[in-house]
Subunit: 201 residues, 2 copies
Amino acid sequence: MKKAAAPQPYHHGDLRAALLEAGEAELAERGIEAFSLRGVARRAGVSHAAPAHHFGDAGGLLTALATEAFRRFVQRQQRRQSKAPPDPLSQLVAAGQGYIDFALEHPALFRLMFSSGRPSFDAPELVEAANAAFDKLEHDVKALRPDMTIADVQIVWSLTHGLADLLNGGRMKSLADQRPAQREATVAALLRTALGQIATR
Amino acid sequence: MKKAAAPQPYHHGDLRAALLEAGEAELAERGIEAFSLRGVARRAGVSHAAPAHHFGDAGGLLTALATEAFRRFVQRQQRRQSKAPPDPLSQLVAAGQGYIDFALEHPALFRLMFSSGRPSFDAPELVEAANAAFDKLEHDVKALRPDMTIADVQIVWSLTHGLADLLNGGRMKSLADQRPAQREATVAALLRTALGQIATR
DNA sequence: CGCCGATCTTGTCGCTGTCAAGTTCATTTT
DNA sequence: AAAATGAACTTGACAGCGACAAGATCGGCG
């Protein structure tokens, strides 16, 4: 994990990446609401003002984390899809499962991406990463049938996102309390039922 | 709004209610991530430590605010329903519209309710208020058809909540950018389409 | 070699939440 | 009526926070 060789070089070498890693750990352990820039610096073993040089302020670091998160978010969906049957409905269901996987595996990152005002959506890189996620969703929905509309995309997105967000917040008690294996099965069935209705409308 | 008579009585009289009001204003203006207990005290015109006596700590105040918010959340849905046709589908669509109305009218409260770890869901009053909201949803869904399952409730909830959350976060660009009147019409159409499919499945 | 700019540290500011101790005041007790 | 009680609120302190300014270090280029 850490270069044991060089003791404490003044210049870190790749502090930016180290701060991103530390930032994600901080986020995962303390949650977005207790996130502290100084805590990130401590984790990375640098002074409290070091992050400023690479990210400007706390928002900058969170923006970078959100950007990276959106990319991995898409990858998580693709990973699910690679193990699923190739028919469009199965692929869409798998994408939804990946969407929810990511939310439950990285609850704080998910909140950062969708329910926080701290990342700056003025940053072009973040917008691009978020748009890529949306484009993928749109593509997967339109693969169902050629005449799928923007409204259909919105419905599918809302359904998937709502499920992910409610599970992530622990608000949907009946599902959140299930053991992971069973919950996953229930979620899959839920998605297949709902998305199936939309597909064959 | 304020008793003009007594100048600055040592005992406020109803500081608890005043703090709740100030807390909501603070939340609305600065958002949950910049929420400050001292800011609330300033708004209410009391010392920075006054809130502790009534709410313990910041989490206590936010818990109380979330509890109140869940009650008004249900009322907002009922208000929509009272103006809608009495058939079950129209009523369910109206409830969904009220759900989204509340989210857009009180974005910070909505986040506090669904996407924050700060309110303590150990507090029985909060759990009760949140459960009441869920019970209402369940009732409205089951009014559609007698054989509606818990899975159907989960689907309806996810769809509605996802739409509300994505709009609230400004993430669903295509909808969030519309002018309020048009957006409302689009949302209504969306809900009617999606919920109609579920109802007549 | 010498300089220069990027990288990182140190120090400081006002702000925050929480705790402890003091002050005020309404009510009850005697 | 006077005193005691305890709730409501204030004052003061502490550590931790984000941001800024100024200084220290160091790789690379002239």
